[in-house]
Symmetry: C2
Subunit: 389 residues, 2 copies
Amino acid sequence: RDTECSGDGPGRAAVDFPVAVILPAGGSGERMGLPTPKQFCTILNRPLISYTIQAFERLSWIGTVVVVVAKENHDLMLNIVREFHHTKVKVVHGGTSRHRSVFNGLQAFSNSTDDSLTPKPKVVIIHDAVRPFVEEDLLLKITLAAKEEGASGAIRPLVSTVIATTLEGYLDHSLERAKYRASEMPQGFLYDIIFQAYQLCSEYDFDFGTECLHLALQYCGTNAKLIEGPPTLWKVTYKRDLAAAEAIIKENLSTSACVITEAAAEAVELAGTLQKNLATQGMVLVGVSSPELFLRLDMHLFESSREMKEKVKLNTTKRSFDTQKTDEITTFMRLASEVKQANVQLYGIQIDHTKVSELWERSAARLADITVALIRDRNPALIGQLLQA
Amino acid sequence: RDTECSGDGPGRAAVDFPVAVILPAGGSGERMGLPTPKQFCTILNRPLISYTIQAFERLSWIGTVVVVVAKENHDLMLNIVREFHHTKVKVVHGGTSRHRSVFNGLQAFSNSTDDSLTPKPKVVIIHDAVRPFVEEDLLLKITLAAKEEGASGAIRPLVSTVIATTLEGYLDHSLERAKYRASEMPQGFLYDIIFQAYQLCSEYDFDFGTECLHLALQYCGTNAKLIEGPPTLWKVTYKRDLAAAEAIIKENLSTSACVITEAAAEAVELAGTLQKNLATQGMVLVGVSSPELFLRLDMHLFESSREMKEKVKLNTTKRSFDTQKTDEITTFMRLASEVKQANVQLYGIQIDHTKVSELWERSAARLADITVALIRDRNPALIGQLLQA
Ligand SMILES: [Mg+2]
Ligand SMILES: [Mg+2]
């Protein structure tokens, strides 16, 4: 699922026409009660919008990603593009409403042969900056349906009954839930259709409309094809959604790991126990090899489909606690702080070397618990700590 | 906001009639992809449903809480009631649909003078087991409106556009978002009205209906009063929602703390720095006092409105790392494991006593970071660890 894989993924064969993306990211953080607009809130040291951009950028069949931001966030956005090495992003200024922002995004493409502009794509995907978990299979369905039908959109079942209210704030009637759907993102359009819809629509539409599919229907007579998406399409809206998104990202990150030990029987046994214990918590160890020196255990999280660069290393030594010198601990903490620059999180876990099998088993179980805790929480405040299994 | 406070809260004066609660909790965990139905999933070692029950039980003006569970979860539910000391709960078996379960709950109350049944309340509140964050002010509004108008319900703005689909899966039309609302929980009813509605409604309603407000309107002609609720009313539905709920509970838990240090200048200074650093992360230290012995720092999380019993203690000693004996660490870990039985999480943080103010400040800042990390994560796998600030 990394960039290399995606190049050979299903999309490459199926999509033989230019596809671009528009990501409106002009929203403010008001609803969350946060000073930072939610698309710029960081999860594991990376802004939410960078995850979303990455979800598109990793697909070889997707071209330009136009990010539409408020003028005051222009520099912030350019910094994110630089820091996270985004290569397909074009930053455009937003308008005073969502529809105006999307239209600004569409105008970043050229209908003419003016070389200073990016040529217009056949299909344009419109998505939200705050829906980071969009997968290739859905994007493919949306894109192909848009090409065929002119417009397409992701839908989800309604989670609550929808009701109409009277002016006085009483129930007027409730809708039969089965007949309606929630309209979500992504949506796809033939570029010419959505561009024409925006050219024809009214000022009222621009200021108060919320639904691009509606514009395509009203102004171009195009009934969008609707495609059911997964629950992970949800929109990160409230502060609690950041915690939910973090949990998903951590889970994606923590599914495989690699352990290196020396050949000693205890080390191999330890790796085996760790493997068994991690497996019960949904993690998999994918390799065990043996360097020399002392009892040592390195844990490396493989880069996931989201291409996170974080790694967790666990270091186990045979030496017992009371012979350890303060300056060794200082050295370890300094090392931890150095490798942190390279996005490696280094923690130490010390395990007593004992022949009493009961104690050894308990320590091995603790080692696994602590390992899982460190990987799951990835807490930078605990980097460089020497823990005891 | 604990039980004592609520006794004198706004509800006590305003509600001079009997109020009961029905909590349908018969759902399965299918949607989450979890083996455990979501209402029984634990957050910080406590099942979700116990938080929800607690939200009602703490209010003195609320009487019986009828929990409607699937037959196979009856014993599980009774165990939860015992373990978390719930005092107002009556467990009833559910039916094959939500409406049947609610009706079973209503039938737990007596219309007659039969002493074996709980007398019927004036107003009954219907809520979801998986919406744990319901506050007294909203419950009060719902209850008083139900008493006045016969029925009332919490609503929220729609987060997505609602669309009608054609049979072939295309967009038919989209609804104007501003005219509709999502119907949420809690809802309130005069007992006689909702009971009558269930007696009159059809088998089709029982099997396919989803909306109690609709039954009250259709069968009793009662237009429910609608009351806007806060976003925290959302329904814990997916696995990610458990992470979101945990984040909210942790945040509620971690808002105040108490530090005890000795009178030494360093200790007082340390407490001051900690206070300042915690404040920037949204935590407040509410007291500093001084016992004797060595440089020591105890951190105690006050019980929040949710009456969680977890506490975090941090212990700081002057002795430096290399003079420490293995058996002292073992003793510390044993102590940690003992107090864990009483729901006290004990971690050690060691800080080097130095006159170099630059080093001291850095250590103090690290102390605060580690403290916040431990409190926020509350990870049981790290209990008994001796960390270095
Ligand atoms: Mg995903
Ligand atoms: Mg709350």
